[in-house]
């Protein structure tokens, strides 16, 4: 049992923290928000050059990491800086390609690790909410390939991605785990209608409407109808990434709030001298350590057996979701009015934290799932 980082991860963390501190500035974030990608291409390639993308993949996949604690190091630092670059999408889509792809498809991973292509995963649909098996988009096999029709909702990085990994049903009905297949959809394919829009937590997403989109046979990713297990695994890894990102964001929020309590004076003394705020800050710190341990628990199980892994996915997503709400709301409250303003740096982090619950399942959803998984 050992909770220290390996030297490699320690170096990665130090380098990342330095680089992000210098690059992810309020101005850079405003520019990213104003731009049409929703993130900074410079920071994206800068991070790729540093090997951040490589840290998300194993050596046989062409990277040099890929373990749960590699994800934790990377995303905790991205979160600490409030970076909005779409590495979670790379992890999701890239992970699926790396696991299921043939050699031709795997070539994309190499480019992705270089940072030269953008990826996205189109899975959720307008009414699927957090049910991974709920796929209504259909793919019909034809003589010379596939024809896809349906709708995909809140596809993060969807309009920016050069290639979208997209799920569609090749058999079964809306709520079966069997019968779900994956395809690689190139940008600009005919029959795809894209609505691109900004997200409250930063970055952009798109609604996709597919109307008889023609794809070659070679677009199929992995075995027909058998993609569910890989999709669940990809979501487990992406959930760990989101929770580590939230953990980093909470550390920044905690630091901002601590500094504010020390400097802000009211009724003649620093408000940090007020015991009521001290004790609430203490509770906040306790919950932050709870969240850190929950992320460790999940990252340590990502490569383990499915049942244990999924129990920890739901335990961690539940706990971190709850703590993220507490930390965001308490920090704004302890700041008072200034914490409500866009100008002050807290806002960006608080908004990001308030969005954690809306991807891959909120804390209530995962509490129920934790109970079901344990009863099973």
């Amino acid at each position: 049992m050992n909770f220290d980082l390996t030297d490699e991860r320690q170096m990665l963390q130090d380098g990342l923290r330095r680089y992000l501190r210098d690059t992810v500035t309020p101005d850079a974030l405003r520019a990213a928000e104003a731009g049409d990608t929703g993130f900074s291409p410079e920071i994206w390639s800068g991070l790729s050059e540093m090997g951040v993308a490589g840290a998300l993949f194993t050596e046989d996949q062409g990277g040099f990491g890929g373990a749960g604690f590699d994800l934790m190091v990377v995303f905790e630092e991205l979160g600490r800086a409030g970076a909005v670059e779409p590495f979670t999408e790379l992890l999701l889509a890239g992970g699926l390609i790396a696991e299921l792809g043939d050699d031709a498809q795997k070539a994309l991973i190499e480019q992705a690790i270089e940072g030269s292509v953008q990826l996205a995963f189109a899975h959720g649909e307008p009414t699927s909410r957090y049910d991974l098996e709920r796929v209504e988009t259909r793919a019909e096999a034809g003589a010379d390939g596939w024809s896809l029709s349906g709708r995909k909702a809140v596809v993060v990085n969807g309009a920016q991605a050069d290639h979208i990994v997209i799920s569609a049903r090749t058999s079964g009905d809306a709520r079966d785990t069997a019968g779900i297949s994956l395809f690689v959809l190139p940008k600009g394919s005919a029959g795809v209608e894209v609505r691109d829009y900004p997200l409250a937590g930063g970055g952009r997403a798109a609604e996709l409407v597919l109307d008889n989109v023609a794809l070659p046979k070679s677009a199929l990713l992995g075995a027909e109808g058998e993609a569910f297990a890989a999709i669940e695994t990809a979501h487990a890894r992406a959930s760990a990434a989101l929770c580590a990102d939230a953990l980093g964001a909470m550390e920044t929020v905690r630091a901002l709030t601590g500094d504010y309590l020390k400097t802000r004076k009211q009724f003649g003394q620093p408000i940090g001298k007020f015991q009521a705020l001290q004790h609430r800050m203490a509770d906040l710190l306790i919950e932050l350590e709870q969240a850190r341990s929950a992320v460790i628990n999940l990252c340590g199980r990502l490569d383990g057996p499915r049942d244990t892994r999924e129990i920890h996915v739901s335990a961690t997503k539940h706990l971190v979701g709850k703590v993220a709400r507490l930390v965001a709301e308490e920090s704004i409250q302890m700041h008072g009015g200034i914490g409500m303003t866009e100008e002050y740096s807290l806002g960006h982090f608080a908004r990001r934290l308030s969005m954690l619950d809306h991807r891959f399942g909120d804390s209530t959803f995962h509490l129920g799932r934790f109970i079901r998984l344990q009863a099973a």
């Binding site: 009414t127 909410r129 829009y197 409250q333 303003t341 908004r351 969005m355």
Partner: protein, 398 residues
């Protein structure tokens, strides 16, 4: 004890409901229901409709053109208008300044300003808070120095809600540095068009420029715009604050929000059934509903005491805390209920009539911005921390 309304009160409720059915424009109630932006013109339109019926200033005496309702009537009016998704009555002039002028202003001031308040000639904003003062209102730094028959005002106000629409602002200014901080404060009426005034919007975390900073640089204000006596402004300010606290519980908003939440939870589907049938989410709705059922009765207890002429004490602080906690929980659950469609952040969609529609279902488009925006409820009007201290001191006499 009797939890039933009197026939008279029931009749009044029926009048209000009939009036709303007939006169409240659907265009406005749709905006409110969907959480879309209300323009200045929207508020002015609704004010005019109420004024035509004599219901714009429910708390004013009849002699000033008010409806002279008692607390229970005001409560019923509030319940019905929020349930019907009517725009709120902008409080700064009608609910805040009006009563101050009526109690402390001169006959000339009342004769001049009150009619303009009712007919919408003036849009007032509030110049109370200053940077760094937080809930400590008495630390007024904005100065007003007498120069002939003018005051020369210098300083800064902040958190001025809808200041961008206002042509008038009422301000607490420091006219003397003698004595305690509470002394030496005066209450001034200032025309926003006066040279030396700059208004700078503050964008909040929901992306909306709802509040403003107002800068005063050698702004000359006629002495006739002083309300009451010089250096007695703190008395008037406190009087205004107690009026600001009527309907502090926001029961009407909470009821409307809860109804909306339940409607959404019936429409959203999770694991093949309506979200409202997910026992754990249903439990969260039920807990806040049960808290609201109790809080509404606490509010009625305070309201009927007020109608009987008793001044609420620590009770209004309790209602402020519990009321804001409940409303914020409803906002959080509504955001939760809309699921992934809480993520899109499309400002234009909140613009009714813009050509940009909502990304997901229309009920989802304002859930996140309303959640973010209403974090203010526990901060302004005396933060919940200040309220808790008031409650503890009142009961513990510490």
């Amino acid at each position: 004890m009797d939890l039933n309304f009197t026939d008279e009160q029931k009749a009044f409720r029926a009048d209000v409901r009939a009036f709303l059915d007939e006169k409240l424009p659907k265009r406005l109630s749709d905006k409110v229901r969907l959480g879309q932006r209300l323009e200045k013109a929207d508020y002015e339109e609704w004010h005019a409709i109420l004024n035509a019926r004599g219901w714009l200033a429910g708390n004013w005496p009849k002699k000033f053109g008010g409806a002279e309702w008692n607390a229970v009537q005001r409560h019923i009016f509030e319940e019905e208008t929020t349930a019907a998704h009517a725009p709120r009555i902008v409080p700064f002039g009608l609910a805040m300044l009006g009563p101050v002028l009526q109690k402390f202003g001169s006959d000339e001031q009342n004769a001049y300003w009150l009619p303009r308040l009712l007919d919408g000639t003036d849009w007032w904003c509030q110049g109370y808070s200053e940077p760094g003062a937080g809930s400590d209102l008495a630390s007024v730094k904005t100065t007003a120095e007498r120069d002939g028959d003018h005051y020369v005002v210098n300083g800064q106000k902040t958190w001025t809600t809808l200041g961008q629409y206002a042509n008038m602002i009422f301000c607490l200014v420091r006219t003397s540095k003698e004595g305690k901080r509470q002394e030496g404060i005066s209450f001034l009426l200032i025309n926003m068009e006066t040279p030396g005034i700059t208004v700078r919007p503050i964008v909040l975390i929901d992306g909306e420029p709802e509040v403003n900073e107002v800068f005063f640089d050698d702004v000359r204000v006629p002495v006739g715009n002083l309300v009451g006596k010089e250096n007695d402004g703190w008395t008037y300010a406190k009087y205004l604050l107690t009026h600001e606290r009527t309907n502090i519980a926001g029961v009407g908003f909470a009821n409307a929000g809860l109804a909306n939440l339940k409607r959404i939870a019936k429409l959203e589907e999770s694991q093949g059934r309506p979200l409202i049938e997910d026992p754990l989410f249903a439990a969260k709705i039920a807990e806040v509903e049960i808290a609201l059922m109790a809080m509404a009765t606490t509010n009625l207890r305070v309201v009927s005491a007020a109608a009987a002429g008793q001044a609420p004490g620590a009770e209004s602080s309790m209602l402020k805390v519990k009321g804001t906690v409940i409303r914020q929980e409803i906002n959080a659950l509504t955001k939760q209920a809309v699921g992934p469609y809480a993520m899109p952040f499309v400002s234009e969609a909140l613009e009714a009539g813009s050509n940009v529609g909502p990304v997901g279902p229309d009920y989802a488009m304002s859930a996140t911005s309303q959640y973010l925006n209403n974090r203010k409820l526990s901060i302004y009007g005396g933060s919940n921390e200040v309220q808790r201290t008031i409650i503890a001191k009142a009961i513990l006499e510490l």
